[in-house]
Amino acid sequence: MTFEKADVVVVGSGFGGAVPAYYCAASGAKVVVLERGPRLTRFPHSLRLGEFTRAVDLVVGDGVAAVTGNCVGGSSVVYFGASLRAPSFVFERRCGTGRRVWPRAISRASLDPWYARVEQALPVEVPQWSQIAYSGGVFAAACSRAGRTCNPVPLAVDLKRCVNCNWMLAGCDFDAKRSMLLNYLPAAEAAGAEIRPLHEVQTLTRGDRYVVSYTVIDPDDYRKVVGIGAIEAKTVVLAAGAVATPPILQRSALDVPGAVGKYFSGNGDRVSIAVVDDKKLGMPYEGFAVGRPINTMSFDRLDPVQPEYERFSLQQIYFPAITNVLADTGFGDSARDARAKWASWLSVLAMTEDDNEGVFGPPAPSGSGLRLALSVVRSSLRYRPSSRTLRGWALADDEAKAILERGGLSTVKPWRDFAGSVTAHPLASCRIGDDPRTSALDDRHEVRGHPGLFVTDGSAVPTSLCVNPSLTIAALAERASRIIVESTGRPARDVPLPGKG
């Protein structure tokens, strides 16, 4: 049987896919990017089911639910742009094993040059205080009163173009959000890469080369298959995201390492809602819906001398009203009364050190799981927080209260957990490391025992990061891209940053 051929097949077009797609194409390789989601050009401001859900999936496991992008550009299209380097101590984490979990080759210092490249390529800017939305201002004021510091969050947003609509979950209709659609992907296409939307990769097989098999998906009903195909390539880069990469590998007729689909982390994400009392605040607020979703955060508890599992950041954040049901409002009249104060809500996201407790069960026949409806997917992922993770969350709750409840400023409650914990930051399900028992990938991002097969998305990140993960995913992908290009026998050194050549 003969198949279509490429030098490099990239699966997924988010951070993890777009970065190597660009470098491989720019170094002269024939690159095909297979992306499950559609290619979108308009991003309407609407929470109607069937509109924003075209680009976002809710992947529901047992004890955890992950929100992820499902379109060309991946989660970068729907993300909130917070672009932070992970604190140095994260790279030294031991996670109860007695030794470092990250590969010896990678530390904050060794990753810094790659972080800097990504910050330049996106690019990232630090907002002025005059560009901080009300909600970020209220959080900062509360931090200050409680004797804490609070920082503006660096953003991959063109602040001059941004109209502060607060619809980042729906994409960006103003080209202000610097998603992969504005940098690495157009540069990859300009260098000859071909992006194929609505192509969902199902399995890999290996002979002389890898054969990547896919189904073609109906744009109006993602449950329907309208075609099938396969491409042969010597190099395959898996970047379907941390909830999608493991099922592809598990389903494939490859003898994959036992660590595939284990050690999943939700980045320790924990959201709480405060209801702010304007009178106690001493300045007008009622601005929950106004601005950008992420503005300010506190680094105070990212203290390297504190014990592992006790360090976290606290970030002001806004999730659209579709998540209101997760606020712990009670039921009946109290649920209605709480919503009457919606404009005074303030939400905070704690990003803690979790214990990599997530494990994928046997894979569904296709995709990341069983697509139940529209954008709801049932995954085999199971997550049960350990006592250490629970303790980290409890400490973060205490800190949120100490800041936001001081002087009666507000009352704070974590999201209800009836859907398990909810994360927008799935990580670590197919991770890099030095120990083959606990890491499916070596420090070059290559799947152990499978030369030419690389994983560069959030699943490769070994641990939770205590900050939002996109910049780290992209920096690791930058670093890995050089290795991937070299493995194809092409020179990698001289490729300029996207758009800077």
Partner: protein, 168 residues
């Protein structure tokens, strides 16, 4: 295999399931006003593919209500309903996912008019969006907030912040 008789039974029960009011009672316990805000329309959205399952869900709700309080859901008083809904969403049973899904969808009708374009819903005075005091869009159906900031520093930055704005 679905027999003709059970199909007939389903056809007879379906309208009954609706008129028992269990789904409406559930929706209005999640947020009072959810039914008026369109919860039943959301549950029946063709793209969700739930319509055929709704009578069964209504029956399930009533069964649980009868088991725990002796009456169907719609016949319970507000406090009893709230207690039951809370219990259902916390329960470890296999049917919990059904209640979670119902809760998410019913709330989404109220909180974001999930069956309508948001700009149109806001302009036409959708009761949930009005209750939240959801802001109004510009004429082109997009939101913009020219005024959005206090315009001044409100806290000291962490002393070890790097030039890129990250923690050390």
């Amino acid at each position: 295999m679905i027999s003709r008789r059970s199909l007939l039974g389903l056809a007879l029960v379906a309208p009954l399931g609706r008129s028992s009011g269990a789904l409406e009672a559930f929706a209005d316990t999640i947020v009072p006003g959810a039914t008026r805000a369109g919860a039943m329309t959301v549950l029946r959205l063709p793209s969700l593919g739930l319509a055929l399952l709704l009578p069964g869900m209504a029956a399930l709700l009533d069964t649980r209500a009868v088991l725990s309080a002796g009456r169907p859901l719609a016949a319970l008083n507000p406090a009893e309903r709230a207690a039951l809904v809370d219990e259902l969403l916390r329960s470890g049973g296999l049917d919990r996912e059904v209640y979670v899904l119902l809760a998410l969808l019913c709330a989404s009708a109220f909180d974001c008019a999930a069956h309508l374009n948001t700009a149109q819903a806001a302009r036409s005075g959708h009761p949930g969006l009005r209750h939240l005091r959801f802001p109004m869009p510009d004429a082109d159906g997009l939101w913009r907030f020219p005024e959005y900031s206090y315009g001044r520093r409100l806290a000291p930055s962490h002393p070890q912040t790097t030039a890129a704005g990250s923690p050390p």
